[in-house]
Symmetry: C2
Subunit: 359 residues, 2 copies
């Protein structure tokens, strides 16, 4: 196991593009190393490692290439795993990882349903391992600064409305074959892939309080030719709180947008890029038209500081030996709220109460 | 009657603050004069005129002060009237004005209900007078430029989502006594006063097409101590179209915000001030973070160019002798859609179809 001074030894269950970003983030974290990469095709894994284990990108020891996920979970020299597998099969691997004593970073949405996520989180709790989802903006410097401003009582005042929109426009290749439109592997479509961030940001603004009720509307679904079942392509929803509300929209066929507004009794904040902040000029947020800079940049313009901070933060928790219950808890709340939005959409948009920790 | 070269002779049914803006707009319009101001208190009317009929603000002939609205409508030297009376009593005066052969500019919401607005518009049609509501942004230079950009097929592409938010935060005086919280005089509260602009902008984006259905949610209502009935204090809604949708929020207890986003398959536009554009630097809109300037300024920094254009445009229509059916039609659509949003809110947020011109 990782001691409090040894770097955390990571195993990656991915050779996808997102895996490159994670590799880089772990390299820059300063308290972790990629010790192994696993995939179903060992050749691809070897190529992935060969590609990244060069120059500044290299770890002191070349990560091992493993041809199966089971091998990774059996390895005694792996402390934590990164699990970006498709949502449809992710819970089973998260549970296996937890039962093997591995700490886990899970991509979002964490599971196809709250019921399945509950089993994952219970397994993590039983094994005493840290669970965290891969929402990077939770770890950015901007969010902490934003909290200060929201709490100052003067800039925004009493919260009235949070509005978020996260979208990108898939190209023909995306619509033809991308997994995110597969009703078996990614049944939550844009709601799980993009709405997760909107709901997470809204819950963050709520200081993790459960909404009284939520609503949802499936604005458009998408069914691939020959596929059984459809997935959400465009979705809107609302989280209803006492005294304020949060509205969101997400879409797979709208150009990249990631804007957020936090409007209150005294003023409003505008964020043009709440999910993946630009560096430099656009790193901040705007109050009354004035930028409040919170540069989110570790000095490497090619790497998102948020990702590095996530892996650094996670490794600190692993090395502390005390899993932080905040992270599984907020993943749980995000999943439950998301599912309630979907349930509302399935019943014509009527409000669905969210009944607190019991879900 | 106004000939095609004589200035249009305006009668104002208001000595309220908005009346000052209208006076100034008519003065700058270049094709109209305020010929009379009417109110229930002739002393107040005289003070209002005395206050404005000075220096550069003065008309060549001092407008007459009239102590009743009836007198104004009977006057043979009045071509058009501005009617900002409370919504609860506005339709009856709009009908009287139309029947007296006066062209009318009505404040918004035009009526408490679509049924009552129908009677107003029928009266205007019978008398052959122009009807227009007081939505100034319809006449700004920005909207025309925005249409060009939306239609260029490259900047935004196919429309996917229009998002608008219009709010201000009433002070204690507002909550204590302002007419906009009076359930008899202004039963539509923030929906009528602010949501009208959001719906109008969304319908404009739709090129006036009827939505397939709309939804609404009364997020918060407000009942004054001792009052019978409440009015919408915070409201959200959606207009559902084939292929896209428009969401909006409005509120009387959220700091002044008037933002809009127009997001499409290829890009998005952000407008920070879609209702009352700032002059200078902020007069434009933003595409991919880049400002597209459309200065809305007639050279007088104290006067909103939109208002001047509205009164100039209206007077042109009056002088042409051919009422333009567009203006009553878009007021009608706005009112019908607004009412459908309210009906949806009253039935738990389920979609309410909008059935086209017959309402």
């Amino acid at each position: 196991m990782a001691g409090s001074h040894n770097p955390v030894r990571w195993g990656m269950m991915s050779t996808a593009r997102i895996g490159r970003k994670v590799w880089e983030a772990i390299r820059l974290s300063g308290n972790g190393v990629v010790a192994a990469v696993a995939g179903r095709d060992r050749g691809k894994v070897e190529a992935f490692i060969r590609d990244l284990q060069v120059g500044n990108g290299a770890f002191p020891e070349t990560p091992r290439a493993l041809g199966s996920y089971e091998e990774l979970l059996e390895a005694r020299d792996i402390d934590a795993v990164y699990v970006p597998l498709p949502t449809g099969i992710r819970p089973q691997w998260l549970i296996k990882a937890a039962e093997a004593g591995k700490h886990v970073v899970s991509e979002k949405p964490c599971a196809p349903s709250a019921r399945e996520l509950r089993r994952v989180l219970d397994a993590c709790a039983r094994s005493g391992v840290q669970f965290m989802d891969g929402v990077m903006f939770m770890h950015g410097a901007r969010l902490a600064r934003l909290r200060e401003v929201l709490d100052d009582g003067l800039t925004v005042g009493a919260l009235r409305r949070v509005s978020t929109h996260f979208s990108f426009a898939g190209d023909p290749e995306f619509f033809g074959g991308n997994i995110r439109l597969d009703p078996q592997l990614e049944p939550l479509g844009c709601l799980g892939d993009l709405g997760w961030y909107c709901i997470r940001f809204s819950l963050w603004a709520a200081k993790w309080q459960w909404p009284l009720a939520v609503t949802g509307r499936l604005l458009q679904s998408f069914q691939r030719v020959g596929a059984t079942g459809a997935v959400p392509l465009r979705f809107s929803g609302e989280l209803l709180y006492e005294g304020w509300s949060a509205g969101f929209t997400c879409s797979f066929d709208t150009a990249l947008q990631q804007w957020a507004h936090v409007d209150g009794s005294l003023g409003g904040i505008r964020i043009d890029d709440f999910v993946v902040p630009a560096t430099g000029e656009h790193a901040g947020f705007w109050t009354r038209g004035t930028p409040s800079f919170a540069a989110d940049d570790l000095g490497d313009p090619h790497v998102n500081g948020q990702a590095t901070r996530l892996y650094r933060h996670f490794a600190e928790l692993v090395r502390s030996g005390r899993p932080d219950p905040l992270w599984p808890d907020i993943a749980w709340r995000t999943q439950v709220v998301m599912e309630a939005c979907l349930r509302s959409a399935q019943s014509g948009g009527t409000p669905v109460p969210t009944t607190g920790p019991a879900g």
